[in-house]
């Protein structure tokens, strides 16, 4: 049994007797995962699906994610919803840097993952993970609101499993882990650097 955890059988028995036992970590993560505030931030057609997910039919409020914040200082989650052009990429990294820890990123749709149909174009970034770390990827062009809700639930699962102490504690609690990433500069031909060399590993080339 790891630190900060209680035996499941004992806990069920206690609960039956009217005693609710929890740990700081569970309480903390329970609160965090049910009040994820996304940054109000859309880039292309995926943003329309994100709006649909926030509206009454799909209703992301059921999962505690309806508080779209207009300021990165108040946001926990950045949903990169749409095509990231090279002109927009520095602003996205800057917004990410301005978000307080713990912060999460959902890369929504083919464009935000890899550039999508515009991958071989001259002004589209081939995936936002070249500059900032991504927690959940949603494929689709654009993904349906259900897919965004699924990604949201996956993110909740991830938050729930993050440890607050010990060796395997969450990344954002480790002081040596960077929470800000260098903002690329506009170069004469491309962004400079074209990807963050410290964090980005290009996919292995395979012959089609």
């Amino acid at each position: 049994m790891s630190e900060g955890q209680i035996d499941e059988g004992l806990r069920a028995e206690l609960q039956r007797q009217g005693i609710w036992v929890t740990s700081m970590q569970e309480l903390y993560n329970w609160g965090r995962k049910n009040s994820i505030w996304p940054l109000q931030f859309g880039l292309a057609c995926c943003a329309i699906e994100m709006i649909a997910a926030a509206a009454s039919r799909y209703d992301i409020a059921r999962f505690g994610g309806e508080v779209f914040r207009p300021s990165p200082r108040q946001a926990d989650l950045m949903i990169v919803a749409g095509t990231v052009t090279k002109k927009m990429a520095p602003q996205i990294v800057r917004l990410y840097n301005q978000m307080p820890d713990p912060k999460y990123v959902i890369s929504m749709g083919a464009c935000a993952i890899s550039g999508g149909p515009f991958k071989q174009g001259y002004n589209v970034l081939k995936g936002i993970d070249r500059y900032i770390p991504v927690d959940v990827y949603i494929p689709g062009c654009p993904p349906r609101p259900e897919a965004l809700l699924h990604a949201f639930m996956e993110l909740q699962r991830k938050i729930d499993s993050q440890k607050l102490s010990g060796e395997n504690k969450a990344e954002f609690l480790k002081p040596e882990q960077p929470s800000e990433f260098p903002v690329p500069e506009f170069g004469e031909h491309d962004l400079n650097p074209p990807a963050n060399p410290k964090t980005y590993r290009p996919p292995k080339l395979e012959r089609a």
Binding site: Y122, P203, L205
Partner: protein, 223 residues
């Protein structure tokens, strides 16, 4: 709408010295266009906008075209005296046509419900001479589109009120829609490359000795 010939004659009569050519389009769309000389372009545009029978009050679209240098081969029959006998000999001559950039405008008349009239302007060359008069003072709707042409093709519009890049950043130096634009070498894995992308992919694939040079490798392993 009047025919292109009529419009051309009207404009040439109204604007002294204007030189207008008809660029035919033999394709299915049959949308031939008027090629206007740069010196009188603004005056001709004003005439097209203001003449009561034409009244092209709306410029719906402005775009650019890049024409590279090209070589046209011509064969002509020439009579030559060979060994005292006159013979007809095919002589091939190559004509080099220097490249230029083009701006194309699509005009409509909302008042008279006709259009489109397509007008073009050509730059002197693809380098320093890539300048054209701006038609933004005539049609305000051309402002952003002329900025886009400037951004992607590199045509400078004289008389444009605010000529800046619009899609790419200011520090960018290339013009990506030009045919000789070279992209940064940033190919990444593509699941189904084809055509130009396949050519780019081939340059980045790791060597595959068992297939690409099988005989050589086999020979080495035996010896």
């Amino acid at each position: 709408m009047e025919t292109l010939e009529q419009i051309k004659n009207r404009a040439e009569l109204a604007v002294r010295g204007a030189k207008i050519d008809i660029v035919p389009n033999p394709g299915p769309s049959q949308q031939s266009s008027l090629l206007i000389d740069n010196e009188h372009a603004v005056e001709v545009a004003k005439f097209l906008r203001d003449h009561p029978a034409l009244n092209f009050d709306f410029c719906s679209n402005a775009t650019g075209v890049d024409w590279l240098d090209r070589v046209v081969k011509k064969t002509t029959k020439v009579k030559q005296v060979v060994d005292g006998v006159e013979k007809e000999i095919d002589q091939t001559s190559e004509e080099k046509i220097p490249g230029y950039l083009e701006a194309v405008y699509h005009l409509y008349s909302i008042q008279l419900k006709h259009g489109p009239l397509i007008i073009r302007m050509r730059t002197a060359n693809r380098g320093d001479g890539a300048r054209l008069p701006s038609l933004t003072p005539v049609w305000r709707s051309a402002e952003l589109q002329e900025r886009e042409i400037f951004d992607l093709y590199g045509i400078r519009f004289d008389g444009h009120p605010d000529l800046r890049r619009i899609l790419m950043w200011d520090e960018f130096v290339d013009h990506p829609m030009r045919k000789d634009y070279v992209q940064p070498d940033d190919f990444e894995w593509e699941p189904t490359p084809h055509d130009q992308v396949l050519e780019r992919a081939k340059q980045h694939y790791p060597p595959r000795p068992q297939l690409d040079g099988a005989e050589k490798i086999a020979g080495q392993s035996q010896s």
